[in-house]
Amino acid sequence: MIQIQDLRKRYGRMEALKGLTLELEKGTVFGFVGPNGAGKSTTMSILATLLAPTSGKAYVGGYEVTKHPREVRKLIGYMPDFFGVYDNLTAEEYLEFYAANYDIPAARRKVIIPQLLELVNLNHKRDAYVDSLSRGMKQRLGLARCLVHDPEVLILDEPASGLDPRARIELREILKELRNMGKTILISSHILPELAEMCDVIGVIEEGKLVAFGRVDEIYTKMREKRVIRIRLLDRLEETIAFLREQPSVSSVSREGNGVAVGFSGDDEQQVELLRNLAAAGFSVASFSEEKGDLEEIFLEITKGVGS
């Protein structure tokens, strides 16, 4: 559905995109992660027909974005990172205006607008002026606006930025619903865990290059395999470390104050076995807790070499 081939964008001396290549299949929810200025918004603007690349090609639904912008616009719903609204319009009129801009007949608009307001939980704000809505509500209204022409692809640039936790959860639920509707979604954020929960595929972009690309389920499998156990001891620290190093399911041991951090590659039963062995050997275990692996660290580790 989306193909990007050796995409480059230069602003004077600054190169925002350095040969980005990417391919997404229909129905994929792709999370685009990277720090500010990494090139996420530039890529999205090119896909949304708002920016011409310096070189390279980008296709949406088989259409080259610079040569067939009209066809591409019919296929996409674009939500920029910052967008304004018309203050003198109600939520319903706002959607009505954009639906008319997509040449949707008036009779059809009357049917789809209440449905869209319901989808984004803004039915009760139908007659409220847009400027009276909270940031989270405006963001949801923006999402409804992207959907007025029922596009196959959604390009959402940092939709969760600036939202409070409750608004983030609401947005995430709507995105899950859209995923179930079979939409291809390209969503950006600079926080990986935020995207991992709702995406099928994640790509990390840094300084205009794709440095990592992989499926989210692979990351979670890896995370289950690689857990960290923190053990706090009352005494005999050095002896405990030596003991742990002899255990087959322990991959690494490092000292942390009066405790140790254990890299553990076994399953739950082996974890119970380890605790039992420590107690049997007479070590004074004050606490024994499992910690999930660092998502970003694991992701970068399993996708090492991508884009280089």
């Binding site: 603007s45 949304a48 708002l50 616009r73 674009y78 018309y86 009129e93 008319a100 801009n101 606006r145």
Partner: protein, 300 residues
Amino acid sequence: MNGFMNLLKRLNNPVLFNEWKMRMRNGRTPWILFAYLVVLGAVTLLYIFLETDGGSYYSPYQTRDMFITLSILQLGMIFFVVPGLTAGVISGERERQTLNILLTTNIGPTRLVVGKWLASLSFMTFLIVSTIPLYAIVFLYGGVSPVQVVKVFGFYLVTMFGIGSVGVLFSTLLRRTGIATVLCYAVFFCYTVGTTILGEIVRELLYYYQRVNNLPRMRAEWLNIFNDINPLFALMNLFGEGPVRSVSPGAANQSWLAQIDPYWVYNACFGLVTVICLLLAVYLIQPVRPSLFKRGAGER
């Protein structure tokens, strides 16, 4: 009939309808209307008061003068209000961060620019129409022909189209509404004053050349075009006032240029400005502009 239906279809412009709706909901709109009528009404009533010495006899000749005064004042108001209305139509969308969203819809650059332009001009037309009761005072006493009235309103319309299109072009070119508005006022001031001064400078240089080279002194009729395209002189010319040029169709001693009614020269000039500015705005507003000179094969 088909052409009319096509026109109606083209006018079915969501941007235009949306602008009308928002304009009428804006709290400033009634105040703008109020201020506009107060200025024109006050001047008209003051004029009547002064001409009649406090309200006695009033002749049709004085009504004609009042009509001219009112028309010039209206022209001044158009030059004052239209840049303010149009110079922010595109840059305002950019400042509000709504332009990019609009550009990703099916609306297209032509419908967007024309919709914004027509919306601003229709508000100006609304202001002018609201002053018709003031003109009714003139009609009550007579002294002005209906053709003159129609011509004056046609003149306003063409002038508005021209100024409005320049405003829209500046609004597309410049990111800030404030700068676009100031530049628009500056350009029209320079245009109005400049066309007159430039015409006279060129005329004097021509006479100087004829004197130095001992050539017979010939009137350069083509230089009158500077007066013809000057909004103030063009309006005055409608009443046979100002640096008026007599038109004698078919006169053997006049060039073809001198035989064209200055009213139509002005309309043609402003019509051309309108078309050029709107086409430029439509081209420039596109985020990814098609090359004007290179035509590539379609790719899918």
